[in-house]
């Protein structure tokens, strides 16, 4: 009697396991929601185009972005710049350089700033957040106090303060100035995630099985904290691009004229906005579209990953 029951139960379990109907994982769910979101597709397409442009820019740019090819048609005294013409569809800037080529190459520089500044914030935040969240105790208290103070300085103000420390601003100094203020944001986010998991059942189970502390943190806790970090990182890329543009406008941006960045172009164009507004409109439009793309992607990811939206 008992054996029949056991066998029947075993068969039932086997049948369920081998039925192939595994339900849907959180990730699949998120993807299903993401696919149906128009905001996600708009953001993804914008960023896709931007990435491709940034990668192939040096090969498809018609001219050298630093060369003053149209200087003959440019006159400071007459306040004249080269108009659109054969081979120069957008004309030249106030220095007689090809605007289209500068915009294209600028995509690469802008992407570099966005990505590397975010990486600085991410890696710094990862280290601090891991130390604080994984160990707790006085390590946690100490790190979180530092993070609190860093957060108490508005991020752009911190970026400006760091930017001033470099006597010759260049792309690297801009990346550092924009990236460092993001460290506390990631640290706090990650620490919160890890803290919530430290007491959870799967970590307790792993600990009971005698898994080493390091393995628990990297194999069990970290992978479960990744999704909000990805969302935040996407949004921080957008913030970084905007902050870099602001630094450029304040004269703390890269001074390298042969490798323009959109914020730098926009900063340069402000001086002549009364007579040549188009010089400002092109880089500003590019910044707005790309920032919008990253924001849309980040927001739609956030909504898709949020388990509250699970049906």
């Amino acid at each position: 009697m008992a054996t029949t029951y056991t066998r029947a139960r075993k068969q039932r379990i086997d049948a369920l396991v081998s039925s192939g109907d595994e339900g849907s994982s959180l990730l699949q769910d998120a993807w299903t929601r993401l696919k149906g979101s128009p905001l996600f597709w708009v953001g993804a397409v914008i960023i896709g185009v931007f990435l491709v442009l940034a990668i192939i820019a040096p090969w498809i740019a018609p001219h050298d972005p630093g060369a003053q090819l149209l200087i003959g048609q440019t006159s400071r005294a007459r306040n004249a710049i080269a108009p659109a013409q054969e081979g120069f569809p957008l004309g030249g800037d106030t220095q007689g350089r090809d605007l289209l080529s500068r915009l294209m190459v600028g995509a690469r520089q802008t992407l570099l700033v966005g990505i590397f500044a975010t990486l600085i914030g991410l890696i710094g935040g990862l280290i601090l957040g891991l130390l604080a969240g994984a160990f707790g105790g006085w390590v946690d208290t100490l790190i979180m106090r530092i993070v609190d103070v860093m957060l108490s300085i508005p991020s752009l103000l911190l970026a400006i303060s760091i930017g001033v420390l470099f006597s010759n601003p260049n792309l690297t100094s801009v990346i550092i100035a924009v990236g460092v203020p993001q460290i506390p944001v990631f640290a706090r986010l990650l620490r919160g995630q890890l803290l919530a998991q430290r007491e959870s059942d799967h970590v307790l189970a792993a600990r009971a099985l005698g898994v080493k502390q390091g393995t628990i943190v990297f194999r069990h806790m970290l992978p479960n904290s990744v999704s909000p970090v990805i969302v935040q990182a996407t949004l921080v890329v957008a913030t970084s691009i905007l902050d870099a543009a602001a630094l450029s406008y304040l004269g703390l941006g890269s001074q390298d004229v042969s490798q323009p960045e959109w914020g730098q172009m926009l900063g340069e164009a402000q001086g002549s906005i009364d007579s040549h507004p188009q010089l400002a409109f092109w880089p500003a439009g590019a910044i707005i579209i790309v920032v919008l793309g990253f924001t849309l992607l980040g927001e739609s990811l956030r909504e898709a990953i949020d388990p509250k939206n699970r049906r």
């Binding site: 106090r145 530092i146 609190d148 103070v149 108490s152 300085i153 508005p154 991020s155 752009l156 103000l157 400006i160 303060s161 001033v164 420390l165 470099f166 006597s167 957008a238 905007l242 543009a245 602001a246 406008y249 304040l250 004269g251 703390l252 914020g263 926009l266 402000q270 906005i273 009364d274 507004p277 400002a280 500003a284 910044i287 707005i288 579209i289 920032v291 919008l292 924001t295 849309l296 927001e299």
Partner: protein, 336 residues
């Protein structure tokens, strides 16, 4: 509540202390060190040595820090060298403080007055035409660089169409009595209406430029928060009780939905301070932001350090107040 308040205030003091330490390290990391930062690169060696002694830079580093701290507590930040050469940095701060307050408070009011009602309306008509178009506006509002928006508005409304003044705080030569340092308030107190109106005209464009991001953020938070609250059981109960729509809106939905908005408003104050640097530069508005910019370019570090310290302190104090307000509204927070 008292325990919580005391704890928050102690944290505040701690944060300000660490902040002063950061500022101290920062001043010493400036290109060329503090002597060059204060005197410029062409100072004579004798003058450099004198200042080194005066600043106590030949003393041990922790003695230097405590002296630095003591000077700051006495309000002695040194003389301005670039923004307004010769005057104490603290005086530069106080003469410009009112200007930035008028700008920042106005921008915040712009954000709140537009953001909260529109956020509520958008949530009520979710996925409607109003909701969708406002979402697009708020997303673009976040994506536009503040200084570009400011420039664009200045170019269109001031330069091209001449509707509003392009720069400054008040028309030069206007006969206005100064009382509080807040020009709009001054005009109201002394009944010099034209002076107040003149200040307002100078501020309309900067208010909108600086208020766009607060508007976008407040709109989105209000919308999300109202959406969440109106699905709660207590709202259904209120409806079932037959309460009027106005009562449900004011007493139940908005009251609960406002909590995240309060927090965000506190956090946005930091954004206003930095946004003010960009906005004030575009409109040549004589506030702290412009002083900070001039300070950086002319290496006027006494003024820069006052403003950075004040900005960070203001931000921390505002957020401490926000946390206290929050605890007052929500008893669960106090228990933690």
């Amino acid at each position: 509540m008292l325990r919580y308040t005391v704890r928050r205030l102690l944290q505040l003091v701690l944060v300000l202390l660490v902040l002063s330490l950061l500022l101290f390290v920062w001043l010493r990391s400036l290109p060329g060190g503090p002597v060059t930062a204060l005197l410029g690169e062409r100072a004579t060696p004798a003058k450099r040595a004198e200042l080194t002694a005066v600043l106590g830079l030949d003393q041990p580093i922790f003695v230097q820090y405590f002296k630095f701290l003591a000077r700051m507590l006495r309000g002695d930040f040194g003389q301005s060298t670039g923004v307004s050469a010769g005057t104490p940095a603290l005086d530069v701060f106080f003469t410009r403080f009112g200007a930035t307050i008028e700008l920042a408070v106005g921008a915040m009011i712009f954000g709140l007055v537009l953001g909260i009602p529109l956020g509520y309306m958008a949530a009520k008509r979710r996925a409607g035409a109003l909701d969708n178009s406002l979402i697009v506006v708020s997303l673009v509002g976040i994506a536009v660089p503040v200084f570009f928006l400011a420039f664009l508005m200045k170019y269109l409304f001031a330069v091209k169409w001449g509707m509003l003044p392009p720069s400054g705080r008040q028309t030069p030569g206007i006969d206005a009595t100064r009382v509080t340092g807040l020009f709009i308030v001054d005009g109201l107190i002394t009944r010099e209406w034209d002076a107040s109106w003149d200040s307002v005209k100078h501020l309309i464009l900067p208010w909108i430029a600086l208020g766009t991001i607060p508007f976008a953020v407040i709109f989105r938070i209000t919308r999300a928060s109202v959406l969440e609250v109106q699905g709660e059981d207590f709202v259904r109960t209120a409806e079932a009780k037959g309460l009027t729509r106005t009562t449900i809106r004011n007493r139940h939905v908005l009251r609960n939905a406002m909590l995240p908005v309060i927090t965000v408003t506190g956090l946005l104050s930091g954004l206003l301070l930095t946004g003010a640097v960009l906005t004030e530069k575009v409109f040549a508005y004589p506030g702290l932001g412009e002083a900070l910019y001039i300070g950086f370019t002319k290496k006027d570090y006494p003024v820069v350090q006052v403003i950075i310290l004040a900005a960070a302190a203001a931000f921390v104090i505002i957020n401490t107040l926000v946390d206290l307000t929050y605890a007052l509204v929500d008893p669960r927070i106090r228990a933690r």
